[in-house]
């Protein structure tokens, strides 16, 4: 299985390549990708250097252009496709069918991946995207069990990529509009779910308040672990009880499932976190690289090492790591 690493800047791209990623995914500095954060992402000059660096090391660069084109602004998304192809993308990670159609018609030879934001969760949807747009790979939404994924792989010729580590959200992937109720911005229209301009952390009475456009979404005791300031992870008063109304901040960790995922035919494991630093990228990629190598060398004897789990737990958002939907006991 390939290891796909996030990069929010050139330093993170180099860290990912040196730590053993097979491919790095990145975004341009605009709303065409789902991590449109202040000061993050690549200028075209950085990308040229990054692509050259990856090529020197025999690795690939994937371009995430995975938000949905807004009415009247489709040209921005087409321009992003043009830029990615001009800069030497090994694949484009797309979600919007209109953008997929443009990329396929204009660049017939370009490799296309259907983004997790494209929200294709069953073989019929994936095969339709292959027939219509010639996608070569699908990144599966984080809502399927390993059994679901195994069945799906049997019914499609499209390569399957799944997430192996990183922050989770409520996973209305590709269509989450929750934060727009508070801020007017969402992943779909601006590439960001809690835009920094709307976020405030304020100390009050010995606690830290998190506010989104003035709305109180959480309050942390002094040593309580914090999460990203999103509505879905906030704590609210519901029926007289203050708790996570939708979801507790949680990170996915599929380390123990790697041999199973390989055995059912998963082709690539993706790490979340283009907003994270080169230090995170280096440590998480190195850990997953060691685990994947061990799983490939001797799958039957594979056991996640305690120091791998320790490294991943250190970087996890929230107070726990889970296997997410991969292993839902109640399903």
């Amino acid at each position: 299985m390939e290891l796909i690493a996030p990069a929010g800047n050139l330093a993170a791209l180099k860290a990912a390549v040196l730590a053993g990623a097979d491919a790095v995914y990145l975004g341009l500095k605009n709303a065409t990708n789902a991590r449109n954060f202040a000061g993050l992402n690549f200028t075209e000059a950085d990308i040229a250097q990054g692509v050259a660096f990856a090529r020197q090391h025999g690795r690939q660069v994937l371009f995430a252009i995975n938000t949905f084109a807004q009415p009247g602004r489709a040209q921005e998304w087409r321009a992003a496709v043009d830029a990615a192809c001009r800069l030497g993308a090994d694949a484009l990670i797309l979600a919007d069918p209109g953008v997929l159609a443009y990329a396929r018609q204009r660049y017939p030879q370009q490799r296309l991946h259907l983004s997790v934001q494209g929200s294709a969760t069953h073989a019929d949807a994936i095969e339709l995207m292959r027939e219509q747009f010639g996608i070569q790979r699908v990144v599966l939404p984080r809502v399927l069990t390993v059994t679901d994924i195994a069945r799906l792989i049997e019914k499609t010729t499209v390569e399957v990529e799944v997430f192996g580590f990183g922050s989770l959200c409520v996973m209305a992937e590709g269509r989450c509009l929750l934060s727009s109720f508070a801020t007017g911005d969402s992943p779909n229209n601006r590439g960001v779910c809690s835009p920094a301009h709307a976020v405030r952390w304020q100390p009050r009475d010995g606690q830290m308040e998190a506010r989104l456009n003035g709305l109180l979404i959480d309050r942390y005791a002094p040593d309580e672990p914090a999460g990203y300031p999103t509505l879905c992870k906030g704590r609210f008063m519901v029926e007289g009880r203050r708790d996570h109304a939708l979801e507790e901040p949680t990170s996915l960790n599929a380390l123990s499932l790697l041999p199973r995922l390989a055995a059912i035919g998963v082709r690539a494991i993706k790490i979340e976190g283009r907003q994270r630093s080169p230090a995170y990228v280096a440590q998480v990629v190195a850990t997953l690289r060691a685990a994947l190598d061990a799983a490939q060398a001797a799958p039957a004897r594979y056991q996640p090492q305690p120091d791998w789990q320790h490294t991943l737990a250190r970087h996890a958002e929230g107070s726990q790591t889970t296997q997410g939907a991969f292993d839902r006991p109640w399903k």
């Binding site: 800047n9 202040a38 993050l40 304020q202 830290m208 630093s277 250190r314 958002e317």
Partner: protein, 136 residues
Amino acid sequence: MSVATFGAVVPPALLSPPLCAVLELARLGRWLQPPAELEGRSVALTLTDLGLRHGLCCRDGRFRPHGVADAELSLSASLADVLLLLAGQVDADTLFFQRRLAIAGDTELGLVVKNWLDAQERPAWLTRLAARWSPM
């Protein structure tokens, strides 16, 4: 006098120049070049374990001392964690999740500072030196 109360008796105005001098050295050494987005912006940095507060701003592409009280952004962490951040050895979000880094004021400016620090490539000698500090 304990170390943590040191800052209580030393005015920030006397503490900011040394911090700026360190950042200016880093700038002249070409591993911390301030981006255009930081021009005219101000930050207060509190070293929680030492009880010290520094104010600085970026003007004409250089780091300069600035008042703590009217800084647009306030960052707080221990000296060891600040050094790890400056050396690129630790992830700011990880420190935030673990409550080792606090941020108040203009969050977007905080993100610009974070992403600027993340994007800088440090010289090899600094990476080697920093690897000897407590790794996390």
